[in-house]
Symmetry: C2
DNA sequence: ATAATCTTTCAATATTTTTTGAAAGTTCGG
DNA sequence: CCGAACTTTCAAAAAATATTGAAAGATTAT
C-alpha cells in the first residue's frame, strides 16, 4: 500500500466511525486529515484534499474548534488561518468525553431527575416508574463521574500505578 | 407532573439521546418504553404507545434483540410475541459496550493496523504517518481493552473495593 | 478610504436515513 | 392441508441531515 492510499483509507475510516458516533462525516474526516498532517493546513488545503466546499470546510472546522480538538494557528507573513489537531491522544479523549458530558449527559440527567420526581404514591405504576428512573439517574450519574475520575487518576501517583496494573 | 407526562418526557429524551449516539430515534424510544414498562409489551402495544408503523416496530425490536438488550417472551395461551428490556443497568452497559466494540472498534483497529503497516522508510512523510497511526492504534486498543477490564473488575474482590474508593 | 484576501453565513439543493404499509412469509390449531 | 394470527421484508415516500456556493462580513495592506 502506498502512502496516499493509506492516508485516504484512514480518512475514510475515521469519517465512517464518526457518523456511527453521531459526529458528521466531514467533521471526522477533517479531523483525521489534520491528525496525520505534520504541519498546519489552511482551509484551502482541507477543501482540496477532501474535495468539499468552502462553506462546509468553514463550518466543520469551526465545530472542531468548538470541541476544543482543533486549533487555529497563524503563520507570520501569511494572511490565511491554519489549523492543527490536538495530537496528544489522552488530551483528545478527555476533551471529547467532557464535551459529550456537557452537551448530552448533563441535560439528560436533568430530565431524569425531573421525571423521577413525580409523586410515587399516586399509583403502583407511578411507584415503579419512579423506582426505575431513579436507578437510571444514579447509574448515569455514576458513569458520568467516571470521566472526571479517570482524569484525576492519570494525575496522581497511585492512580498511574493502578492503570499499569490494569494493563 | 403526571405519570403520563413524565413517561412521555422520558421516552422523548431517551430517543433524542439515542440519535446523538448513532442509534436511531425509534429504537431508543422503544427501548425507553420497555425500560419503564413493568410487564412485557406486544408489538401492538409498542405501535400504539409510540404511534409507529408495524414495519418500524418490527425492525427496531429486531435490532434491539440483536444488541442483546431486549428479549422476546412467550405467554402461554398467547400467540403474539412479547418483549422486555434488560433492566440490570450494569448488564445493559456491558452489552452495549461489547456490541459497539465488536461492530465499530474492532473493524477500525483492523484498518489502523493496515494503514500503519506501510513502509515507513520510503519518505519522511511516510515515517510520520506510520508513527501517528501506530500511536492511534495503541490508544484505541488500550481503550477497547478497558471495557473488558471493567467487567473483570466488577467480578473480583479487589476490583470492587477499588471501584468504591473511586466513589 | 479602497482594494485585496480570506472567512462566515444561510437559503437552496442534494444526500442519507428513517418510516410506512402492503405483500410475502411463518407458525400453529383444527 | 387450510386458514387465522401474527411477523418480516422491502420498495416507495417522507423526514432529517449535510453540502454547496454565492453574497455578506471581516481584516489587513496600501
Amino acid at each position: 500500500m502506498q502512502l496516499d492510499e493509506a492516508k485516504n483509507k484512514f480518512i475514510q475510516t475515521w469519517g465512517a466511525l464518526g457518523s456511527q458516533w453521531g459526529i458528521n462525516k466531514t467533521m471526522a474526516q477533517i479531523h483525521a486529515l489534520l491528525i496525520v498532517s505534520n504541519n498546519p493546513l489552511s482551509m484551502e488545503d482541507v477543501m482540496e484534499e477532501l474535495i468539499i466546499s468552502r462553506g462546509n470546510a468553514s463550518m466543520n472546522l469551526r465545530a472542531l474548534m468548538d470541541w476544543g480538538i482543533v486549533y487555529k494557528e497563524y503563520k507570520t507573513g501569511e494572511r490565511k488561518d491554519f489549523f492543527t489537531a490536538e495530537k496528544d491522544l489522552d488530551e483528545l479523549a478527555v476533551k471529547i468525553a467532557k464535551e459529550r458530558s456537557r452537551r448530552e449527559i448533563k441535560p439528560a440527567l436533568k430530565i431524569l431527575k425531573e421525571v423521577s420526581s413525580i409523586d410515587a404514591k399516586t399509583s403502583l405504576e407511578a411507584g415503579q416508574f419512579v423506582n426505575q428512573t431513579k436507578k437510571l439517574y444514579d447509574f448515569v450519574l455514576k458513569a458520568d463521574n467516571m470521566i472526571d475520575k479517570v482524569t484525576e487518576i492519570k494525575d496522581n501517583w497511585v492512580g498511574r500505578l493502578l492503570m499499569k496494573v490494569m494493563k
